[in-house]
């Protein structure tokens, strides 16, 4: 059929179901909800509350929580502190990068810069370390693989990440925030020993 002569189609047809979404609704569109709509709305609200509560609950039942401690520090100052730390704890060198072995439970400095993580860390399994992570140039992403723990690293901000290694072995530290054309060269290492 040729609809050219047919007139307006966008009429509001009231009754259950109301009008099409493309036309003005009936004058009164705020009637009571049907039973199943109420049930679904309640299910959604309860589920939202469960998800909300989980973030408060996890610090009490789990051991993986987002670090929140951070300090402001000029990149140059952080670099100096990291160098002092390396000098004090260096035990060797691999791939031209210093290897450090901080005392168990101690503080650890990790410097991100285009395109390297410095130094290589040797940590003891089961001990908790305070990692002071910052960048001395651009934004970087601190990513421990294959563990897949990931944090954002900003210049001017020192992030304190408390970490307790659970398994021995060699872990890769990569950058997962784009930091320039050598981004795919930026690597580091974390060694966990008994």
């Amino acid at each position: 059929m040729n609809g050219a002569e047919r007139g307006p189609a966008l009429h509001a047809v009231a009754g259950p179901g109301g009008a099409s979404a493309l036309e003005p609704p009936p004058r009164v569109w705020w009637g009571p909800l049907g039973r199943i709509e109420r049930v679904w709305l309640m299910a959604g609200l309860i589920w939202a509350l469960v998800m909300f509560a989980m973030m408060w609950i996890w610090p009490h039942v789990g051991h993986q929580n987002t670090p929140i401690e951070s300090y402001r520090m000029a990149p140059a100052d952080f670099k100096a502190a990291a160098e002092a730390f390396i000098k004090e704890h260096q035990v060797g060198e691999e791939f031209g990068v210093p290897v450090v072995e901080p005392e168990p439970g101690g503080e650890v400095y990790l410097e991100a810069m285009a395109y390297q993580w410095r130094p290589i860390l040797r940590l003891k399994r089961g001990e908790t370390y305070r990692l002071y992570v910052s960048s001395t140039d651009l934004q970087h992403g601190f990513s421990i693989q294959p563990l897949n723990l990931n944090f954002q690293v900003l210049p001017g901000y020192v992030y304190v990440i408390e970490l307790t290694p659970q398994q021995t072995g060699e872990y890769a530290v990569v950058c997962n925030e784009y930091c320039g054309v050598g981004h795919h060269l930026m690597s580091g290492r974390l060694i966990v020993v008994d």
């Binding site: 109301g18 493309l22 569109w29 970490l163 290694p165 890769a172």
Partner: protein, 624 residues
């Protein structure tokens, strides 16, 4: 019909010269011609950017596929920047501006207030987009779409984005003015149509978003010019994500509006409860922007209360909004389908849906992938602790390709199949391509996003040229895992298929635009199932079985003129509706048992994914 029926006559012709208007033969809407030109121009510009961004997507996908590894590093990063900016900013916003003009002027039978401002907006947006593209494509701004300082791009990159943003704000202003004037002139008899209401929500979100973008980008531009000594990276991230994720919330509201529109157009669906659907949009406006801070969950600098309140409590209220839509759209489709006679069993309505209609296919695929994959992963990633497991991995682009591409872009493509023929008054070109396009595109995206997310779970970083770290200072062998290699091949293959699907869409759009055929049957090839023009009279309700409107049946297709549902079948369907549903009967609304099964299956899936995520986190080392 019962006495509660309101059958509005078409709104009176708006004030002003009648020559400015034409009457759409299919919908009966009064279309303001200057608005029509602006809609076509913005939509076509959007499609051109989509085509360009798709080409970049192909090159990027083929580079991340390790066996192909097409581009050199510098070009890869350059094209990732250009792809992200072209798609997330230019394609989507030009299309949304077209949507805003359509939702205001066309749906309200109104005059677009100051088309001249619309053209100024268009000129600013286009100029800004071209300047930014030039900066990116000449390699002067390989900074990614996020452009995090202190990484510095050419000032033209920031300036172009700022000019584009100002243009978009002007367009949003034209939309608000048009809606307000339509109300003032009495063109809106009751409330705004739901689709316009959705676009209104999107426009309100857009104002917040664009202002936040300006606050992030203007100081950064001044810094890139050397006029400001520095930009604080943490403050930039806060402001940028008000824009960066905020704009995705604009897309969300617009996409859901498009879902309602597609459900109405393709099966004549009417929301079961206007109030509930409107409440859901209100929840977006009120809460979702605060959730944007979830990008900062593993940043230094934010306190716990801030993280928990903004990223969860408020975000979850917006999630409830999405869950409302997840119910109200399928249920509206189900009720409409049952009224058409497909009322046997739980899912006959779904099986007999017009799957060969690109608008319906796009609706269903967009709803499915956005809900089950994009939405669920987004909410889980937004959980404070869980975010540590995926931050900046390939999981993140996997997530947003399933929301912004498999969700928003698919929905926008679906509505474009109606917008361009009806507004452009041309028959849809290559209907065969159009029929298959949503499936091929979505299949490619399913492979792409699934592979990305799985690779992200294995720790593969996003935005990374070379997974082998061959020239790195310290060797990285962790990604030699064969699963990683396979999944990255999936990223490449998925990208190729999706780009093929995207090219089909572009072909249909450009073919339609440049079609010289003029016809009054502009809806030919499209199923347009608007409600009947007159209240149905006494015709016995259809009681199941096949009906002549069956999609795919050649007879049914031929029987469908531009206003198919106004034919006898449509009237009968209307009568069926009247007979089946007693006004005022509270049970009448709940006649969507199939949807009830679907939404609770969805909730079960959501809970399952959530539990899996926590169990994965539990396996990680203690951290805090």
């Amino acid at each position: 019909m019962a006495s509660s029926s309101v059958v509005a006559t078409r709104t009176p012709a708006p004030a002003g010269p009648a020559a400015d208007f034409r009457t759409c033969p299919v919908t009966g809407l009064a279309v303001h011609r200057p608005a029509e030109t602006l809609i076509i121009t913005n939509a076509v510009t959007a499609v051109v950017f989509l085509a360009f961004g798709g080409l970049l997507a192909l090159l990027i996908g083929l580079t991340r596929w390790p066996a192909v590894h097409l581009l050199p590093a510098e070009l890869f990063y350059r094209f990732v920047t250009a792809h992200g900016t072209t798609m997330l900013v230019f394609w989507i916003l030009f299309f949304e501006v077209a949507g805003l003009y359509f939702g205001s002027a066309v749906l309200l039978n109104a005059r677009l207030v100051t088309p001249r401002a619309g053209w100024i907006a268009y000129a600013l947006m286009l100029a800004g987009a071209l300047v930014t593209e030039a900066a990116m494509l000449t390699g002067e701004a390989n900074v990614m779409v996020t452009a995090y300082p202190p990484l510095k791009g050419h000032p033209a990159f920031y300036l172009g984005l700022i000019v584009f943003t100002v243009g978009a704000l002007v367009a949003v202003g034209v939309f608000f003015a048009t809606v307000l004037r339509a109300r003032a002139e009495g063109l809106v008899k009751t409330s705004l149509p739901l689709v316009t209401y959705a676009f209104l929500a999107a426009a309100v979100l857009a104002v917040f978003t664009l202002v936040s973008g300006a606050l992030a980008l203007i100081p950064t531009f001044l810094w890139s010019m050397g006029w400001l000594p520095s930009v604080d990276p943490a403050v930039y991230r806060l402001l940028f994500w008000g824009f960066g994720h905020g704009s995705q919330q604009v897309n969300l509201a617009a996409m859901v509006g498009v879902w309602y529109a597609l459900a109405s157009l393709t099966v004549g669906a009417r929301p079961l409860h206007e109030g509930l659907s409107r409440l859901a949009f209100f929840l977006y406006v009120a809460f979702i922007q605060l959730g944007s801070i979830h990008h900062l969950l593993v940043d230094p600098g934010l306190g716990t209360s801030n993280r928990i309140m903004n990223t969860s409590y408020f975000m979850y209220l917006a999630t409830v909004g999405s869950m409302i839509h997840a119910f109200s759209i399928p249920s509206a489709v189900e009720v409409a389908q049952r009224e058409r006679g497909h009322h046997r069993g739980l899912f006959t309505w779904l099986r007999k849906a017009p799957w060969s209609e690109p608008g319906f296919a796009a609706l269903a695929l967009s709803l499915l992938w956005f809900g089950f994959v994009g939405g669920v992963t987004g909410v889980i990633m937004g959980q404070m602790q869980l975010n540590m497991l995926v931050h900046n991995t390939l999981f993140v682009p996997g997530h947003f390709h399933s929301t912004v591409v498999a969700g928003t872009t698919v929905a926008f493509m679906g509505i474009a199949y109606y917008l361009l023929p009806l507004i452009g008054q041309r028959p849809l070109a290559f209907p065969g391509l159009a029929r298959w396009q949503p499936y091929i595109y979505s299949l490619g995206l399913a492979v792409l996003t699934g592979s990305m997310m799985a690779a992200g779970k294995l720790g593969v970083p996003r935005r990374l040229w070379d997974i082998t770290y061959q020239q790195a200072a310290i060797p990285v062998t962790v990604f030699e895992d064969p699963r990683v290699q396979l999944l990255l091949a999936g990223v490449g293959i998925g990208a190729v298929v999706a780009v093929l699907g995207g090219a089909m869409f572009v072909a249909v759009m450009l073919g339609t635009l440049f079609s010289h055929r003029t016809t009054t049957r502009v809806g030919a090839g499209l199923r347009i199932a608007l409600p009947p023009a007159t209240p149905p009279v006494t015709t016995p309700p259809i009681t199941g079985g096949s009906d002549p409107e069956e999609p795919g049946s050649e007879q049914g297709r031929k029987a469908q003129g531009p206003a198919a549902s106004m034919g006898p079948a449509g009237q009968a369907a209307g009568a069926g509706r009247a007979a089946a549903l007693q006004p005022g009967d509270p049970g009448a609304r709940a006649e969507a048992p199939g949807t009830v099964v679907l939404v609770f299956a969805f909730l079960a899936w959501f809970v399952l994914m959530y539990v899996v995520a926590w169990s994965n986190l539990h396996k990680a080392w203690p951290v805090g």
